[in-house]
Subunit: 193 residues, 2 copies
DNA sequence: TGACTTATGGACCATTTGGTCCAATAATCA
DNA sequence: TGATTATTGGACCAAATGGTCCATAAGTCA
């Protein structure tokens, strides 16, 4: 196996695909869109990624592990749980300032596929839960370190946090201004303390 | 104008279209899907609704005014602001118990179209704001009647409420259980008081 | 250099998409 | 009954969809 070398890098192509799906959604993204964005020929596409559906699955997994990883990084950068929340929502607000906010790929997928497109909905549930349980771990650790009051359960807090996050990401994608996003975020953060 | 009578009722057909778009989204709903659900011929469809795009606009408007109307009804049924919130979230939880939760057509549209499909995003923003300002009016009235503390501005509360609502509707569409939805809802309601 | 292996571009394909058009149909009203 | 008017089914259409296939290009290794 020493044939002709490929002219693209798989990880870069994948990244481009994630970006596109993230912005436009699954159905609204055509194969042609993908080929252009990924800078890859149709043959290579099917050789390397099997199908549009398979690619989406790969993208979702990629995104999910990126998010979980990223949240853990934010945790290690934070001195306290409140600060962690600040960092998380900081990025959300940045998205709100973008010309074409992308929202969150998982939330976008949840809404696009609902529970009626089985090929995807199970994986989306998994991804949502992965985020949720990451939050739960972080909150649990924060409580242990005495960084925050422990009146409510980490589990419920994590679910609430995930829900709020999904909410603003959806609202922002729907056109909510950065100003409004900021106001809502500070209300959410207050309700978390 | 005394020609052949139509075999369907426009409002019923429209209702069916709303239902379908609500469940499946715009792109995932084909013309054939619509014709079947609406029990209408292609000719009648184009004569009566112009195009798929135009129909979607009509559906969004229909849905929006339904929601605003409905919220006002809930208000008049409520003795207090907290009770109003209860009623609102009650229905959300009912959706969570459905086999195929539909979420909210406006939120679904916000996520599906984002800010990159101009034909729709403006109208979606309008719809989101209509809901938001309905909440604002209700909250304002509640504060006036002394039903609730007035520590935070009705405007921000309304934005926060809309965001939370969008959040659970998205989560539920993504598969969140009714149990979890209940837990999150009670946390939200507590944070509103 | 030549054998081998992999990547590439592009022709090709069936299906589905949203949409148009018209002849046939079915009512009302005089 | 016949003229009028509006609805209907279905034939038709161009474009776009996701996907397959193969001859050719472009490398590596002996």
């Amino acid at each position: 196996m020493t044939g002709r070398p490929r002219t693209y890098r798989r990880d870069e192509a994948l990244e481009a695909a994630v970006e596109l799906f993230w912005r436009q959604g699954y159905d609204a993204t055509s194969l042609d869109d993908l080929l252009h964005a990924m800078k890859i020929s149709k043959s290579s596409f099917y050789a390397d990624f099997q199908s549009k559906k398979a690619l989406y699955h790969t993208c979702l997994q990629h995104y999910q592990s990126f998010v979980v990883n990223h949240l853990q990084n934010l945790q290690s950068q934070s001195a306290s749980l409140p600060q962690f929340f600040q960092l998380v929502f900081q990025e959300v607000i940045e998205d709100a300032a973008a010309r074409e906010p992308k929202g969150c790929l998982i939330v976008n997928s949840a809404v696009e596929f609902g529970q009626h497109r089985q090929e995807f909905s199970e994986e989306v549930r998994t991804a949502l839960e992965a985020v949720q349980s990451t939050f739960e771990r972080v909150i649990r650790a924060g409580i242990k370190d005495g960084q925050i009051s422990c009146r409510i359960s980490p589990k419920v807090s994590a679910k609430y946090l995930t829900t709020c996050l999904s909410g603003i990401r959806a609202m922002i994608k729907g056109g909510m201004s950065a100003r409004d996003a900021k106001a809502v975020v500070s209300k959410i953060i207050r309700s978390l303390e």
